[in-house]
């Protein structure tokens, strides 16, 4: 049945997200919080995350600003960068964005050591991860909506 197919598909999607390390335990926690009072809780949270993280990424890009001609902004404001990264890290931890979070930690470390190059490179990487995750989650939730209400959140094996 379509529904079953959808469900199976969803389960597979979710499983792969976990397997590939994009999501961690926190995501399951969110699913467990979902109930009749908040049937779309997880999606709501993820949507909030998108909003917040987009804002932060813009801010990061500004701080790490690459000027139009491709030259980097110097000197880099590490403190500010670190502050924003701290926020970004916290935000990512809220939905369990594992890889994104790991990159954030790396950037913060580079900030601490004053490694501008490291910061920028890591940021690029992190942004890639972020975009990829977001895409997959958007697909996931689209399917969720299509599949209809699920009885229960199921843990990936």
């Amino acid at each position: 049945m379509d529904r079953n197919n959808s469900r199976r598909q969803l389960a597979a999607m979710k499983q792969s997200l976990f397997d590939q390390g994009h999501l961690d335990e926190q995501f399951i926690q969110l699913e467990e919080l979902q109930d009749d009072a908040n049937p779309n809780f997880v999606e709501e949270i993820v949507t909030l995350y998108y909003r917040d993280s987009s804002r932060l990424i813009s801010s990061l890009e500004q701080t790490l600003h690459f000027c139009a001609c491709g030259r980097e902004r110097n000197p880099l404001d590490f403190n500010k960068l670190d502050t924003i990264m701290h926020q970004f890290k916290g935000s990512s931890s809220s939905i369990g964005a594992k890889k994104v979070k790991a990159e954030s930690t790396l950037i913060r470390e580079y900030c601490r050591t004053g490694n501008a190059e490291g910061c920028r490179k890591s940021f690029q990487q992190m942004k890639k991860e972020y975009v990829a995750l977001r895409k997959r989650l958007e697909n996931y939730f689209q399917l969720v909506r299509q599949a209809g209400p699920m009885e229960r959140a199921c843990r990936p094996k």
Binding site: E25, Q26, Q29, L30, E32, L33, D35, N38, F41, E44, I45, L48, Y49, R51, D52, T83, H86, Q87, K89, G90, S91, S93, S94, I95, G96
Partner: protein, 568 residues
């Protein structure tokens, strides 16, 4: 389980725990809200620290616990933590995605009761109630009798309006105190309202104060120090600080006594030579000071068997003491916590009165509740004749004149002692009417009082002859005595006073008989709770007192009587 009371008491604590969550991250804010709701807590979210503070200030006891992120744009989380701790004294949990030891340490240093790492799990939030509970317990531990204190506090506030109210409180406090003593270990019962997060205070009950005074006297007033007293008292839960502050109050009290004695050209020796003057020191208890210190007065009020020694029983006209009874702190007795009025009342150095009592008929009167019962009855019946017996005793005391203000230290009852002139028989009777501690007496007294009340007016008090024979007993208007409405309460208060006095009498060193009139003064004051024109300048009917002398001495429960006397 009985979880005590929050400001909005919940029988099913920790359900309904009121949590304030502060986080600039909207995603986490929402997650936490959901998690806390799942724990059956009442959640309020806030993304700005400043806003959170204003919320907290608006409703001082509107929240039980605060959870806050460390890194926030408008205010540092640690700063918020400090504010909350200082202003509201609520437990605060910090959270952060950063779990560095230094950060955690900083959190603890600033007073956080816990530090959670993001991502936060439900199970961590389920147990945050322990911090609230822990705080309560710690407050209660230092606070022997919080509830009575609180009720006393409440009473005090109300006492401004009517002295009668004070008597009430006394009764309540006694009960509460008793219960409190029993429940002392049951912290959950004493889960205090968050508003009570004002510091817990030690309530100096009659017994405790008595121990205190005993210790002080043992050490020697000159050499006394909180540590020594504490050691001698041997009360495990009492702290050095508690003793130190109580000692300070005691000293003030004694000095006031002394000052009063000096001021008042007391006829002869109100000052009991026996009383170790050193004890008295120079304490001046300014009425206002006393009033301000409800707890202080409470201390005073709470003295049980007091050692009068220090009291200078100077007859003092208490015009100055609107609120009459000053808890007699000098005596160690811890009278039952006096109700509000007492605290308000000027704390007259009861001690002096006490000592007098010993000699005087007061002793009789105060000592037993039984006696009181007797007295009132007899008194009432006659209403004409105040206790005759007292006469002898009273003779001992030179009365200063009609205008005695009896400063009844009995904190219990008297709110204001008017310095009006004659003590009507009724008044005296009323005093005696005070309900003894024992509820049994209460009824008797109440009725007695009422009857007395009916007729009292003023009875001229003749120095040396407290008998009011001459005076027709007039109903003691309740107003005068402040017994009016809450007669029963009054009674209880009075009886407390009685007991107290009794204790004082017996416990203290009655310096000389002379001060009897001062005792009367005291009683009178007590009786005139706030009724300025009671017209009882004289002390209450000594006759009443004398009637039971024997009983008094025999009776174990002096307190009861004491209180009775003080019903103004």
């Amino acid at each position: 389980m009985d979880n005590g009371c929050f400001s909005s008491p919940r029988r099913d604590f920790p359900n309904g725990l009121r949590v304030l969550v502060v986080d600039d991250d909207p995603t986490w804010l929402k997650i936490l809200e959901k998690m806390l709701k799942k724990c059956n807590y009442e959640v309020t979210t806030c993304c700005l620290a400043r806003h959170a503070l204003s919320l907290l200030r608006e409703r001082k006891d509107g929240y039980d616990i605060v959870i806050s992120d460390v890194n926030m744009p408008d205010m540092d989380g640690f700063k918020l933590l400090e504010h909350v701790g200082l202003e509201m004294d609520l437990p605060v949990i910090m959270m952060s995605v950063d779990g560095e030891t230094s950060r955690v340490m900083k959190g603890v240093q600033h007073g956080a009761c816990d530090y959670l790492l993001k991502p936060i799990r439900m199970k961590e939030l389920r147990n945050i109630w322990q911090h609230v509970f822990r705080k309560r317990i710690h407050e209660v531990r230092d606070f022997e009798n919080f509830e009575s204190f609180e009720s006393m506090h409440l009473m005090t506030n109300g006492s401004e309006l009517s002295e009668e109210g004070n008597l009430f409180a006394l009764e309540d406090m006694t009960t509460t105190k008793k219960r409190k003593d029993l429940d002392n270990k049951h912290d959950d019962k004493e889960f205090l309202d968050s508003s009570s997060s004002k510091k817990a205070r030690v309530v100096w009950s009659v017994d405790l104060h008595q121990k205190f005074v005993k210790a002080v006297n043992q050490i020697g007033f000159d050499k006394v120090g909180p540590k020594k007293i504490l050691d001698l008292m041997n009360v495990p839960w009492l702290s050095r600080e508690n003793v130190a502050s109580h000692l300070q109050k005691y000293r003030l009290y004694l000095s006031r006594l002394q000052k009063d004695n000096e001021q008042k050209s007391s006829p002869s020796g109100m000052k009991h030579s026996d009383l170790p003057s050193k004890d008295v020191g120079n304490f001046n208890f300014p009425n206002s000071a006393i009033k301000q210190q409800n707890d202080a007065s409470i201390d005073r009020c709470n003295y049980s068997e007091g050692t009068l020694h220090h009291q200078n029983m100077e007859t003092k006209s208490h015009e100055g003491n609107p609120k009459g009874i000053v808890p007699h702190s000098t005596t160690a007795e811890k009278a039952r916590p006096l109700t509000g009025n007492i605290t308000d009342a000027n704390i007259q150095p009861f001690a002096s009165l006490e000592s007098e009592r010993k000699h005087a008929a007061f002793d009789c009167t105060m000592s037993t509740p039984y006696s009181w019962t007797d007295i009132p009855k007899s008194q009432l019946k006659k209403e004409q004749k105040p206790v005759v017996h007292l006469e002898d005793n009273f003779n001992l005391l030179p009365f200063h004149g009609k205008k005695h203000n009896i400063q009844v230290d009995q904190s219990q009852s008297i709110a204001s002692i008017s310095s009006t002139p004659s003590i009507t028989e009724q008044d005296v009777a009323a005093c005696i009417e005070t309900k003894p501690r024992f509820s049994g007496y209460k009824k008797d007294y109440t009725s007695s009082v009422s009857s007395i009340r009916s007729s009292v007016d003023t009875f001229p008090f003749r120095p040396g002859n407290l008998m009011m024979n001459d005076q027709p007993s007039q109903p003691i208007s309740t107003t005068n005595f402040g017994l009016k409405t809450q007669s029963s309460n009054n009674l209880s208060c009075i009886s407390d006073l009685e007991s107290y006095q009794r204790n004082l009498l017996f416990g203290g060193e009655a310096a000389s008989a002379a001060p009897l009139d001062e005792d009367l003064y005291f009683y009178w004051h007590n009786m005139n709770f706030g009724q300025p024109n009671i017209g009882m300048s004289e002390y209450y009917d000594p006759g009443l007192l004398t009637e039971v002398p024997n009983h008094l001495y025999d009776s174990a429960d002096y307190l009861v009587i004491d209180q009775g006397l003080f019903i103004a």
